[in-house]
Amino acid sequence: MNSLDQKELSRPLQFRDPVRAKGLLGRLHRLASPDAGPRVSVMHVCGSHEQAIARFGLRSVLPEGLDVIMGPGCPVCVTDMPEVDEAVVLARQGFRIATYGDMLRVPGTAISLADAQAEGAKVDVVYSVSQAVELARSSTDEVVFFASGFETTAVATAAVLLAGPPANFSVLSAHKYIPPVMEIVAEMPSTRVQGFLAAGHAATITGFGIFEPFVERHGLPVVVAGFEPLDILAGLAKLVELVRAGRATVANMYPRCVTREGNRPAQERLWRVFRPVGGRWRGIAHVPNGNLRLRDEFAHVDARRRFEIDLASLWDEVPSPLAEACVCGNIMAGLSRPTDCRLFGSECVPERPVGACMVSTEGSCRIWHEYGGHPDLGGAP
């Protein structure tokens, strides 16, 4: 406990409840000690978890024997290049693109929406899909909302479509659905993941019951956790306890926001508007049921079906040579760390990002770069 105490003294983080934090850390250190068994590797699938872990310096107090890996939890990062290309082509074809801020600089095959904007295309950053609808209401432009985000965010897009947007509004959906990608990661032959920390606010919508079939199929525990440093410690302690005990079960450590059945009205709207279809995620390859696309009843507001998107117009463009060296895909799959990339912090920085992981505020590279560059990752290879 002595070294733990020293670490606690030297770190900037003040836990809200230091006594409870000390108790949780003590438990975590006992559970993950070499005496208790081999190293433990767990994965979280949420950019906000990574932000909290890095920002509050949690890795510096975690036990040596525990690796906390960030998986495909950044919706902007897993948006595949062809999806960005569709938005870029629509922008060049004269449509007005509205999108969440982080999507602006995500590279497509050749260029990003920011590049298209610099060429003169109309691209607006919005904080909410409602704002994109307002843009359409207040102009005669055809407004295409390039929609990114996991199920939590897709619910808002669904609500707007159900409320009856103006005729000059449509959606280019790059929304993703988290539960299926956990299956893919669990099945990767090279995976070291022994359990998942599930994101609290996505589970607010879906409920934690959604993870029960996964747990049964893969024999891996899932713990739902919140975002406060204490919430994360409590979630990790529970997860390592389940791994050590060999108990594959779902535990909800965020009951103030997550229930077993989740937010039923939101689910009902989500699935009335969207259907899950298979598709590529950047770095993860094909994810069955991982992409949320508009149902046939919403074809009239689906930019993919309403407009011809001339992707062939990009065929002559030359991809950046640096992009070849980017390992964003492996990072999203939990196989590489940002510091494994030779571009990290040199050719690739937030001001001049090469890959999506350096663009998004939820991307591992951006987070590591911002909060110290090389946070202690314990014994990750």
Binding site: S128, S130, Q131, H201, R256, C257, P265
Partner: protein, 100 residues
Amino acid sequence: MCLGVPGRVIEVREGIATVDFWGVRRPVRLDVVDQPVGPGDWVLNHVGFAIRRIPEEEIGETLALYETLLSEASAEDSMARDVRAEIAAAGATAGDGSTG
């Protein structure tokens, strides 16, 4: 972007709540909230929509993270920026003129 932000409902009118975020009042849509909400309730909000009513007795624990972020973090801090973006998203919710 998946973080969401809590706030307290001041009033509800035609499916839109006026929500107080640390002294800033913004309209939030109630289309997808899990339970009926009224003045005095706490809600968790994401991209301008309330997604969950938070039990009163648990709000202190929920607020702690945000208070740390908003009081200590610099303007460039990614996590604090995402929280501020969530509050701004509420302001973007086509409103009833009650933004402030």
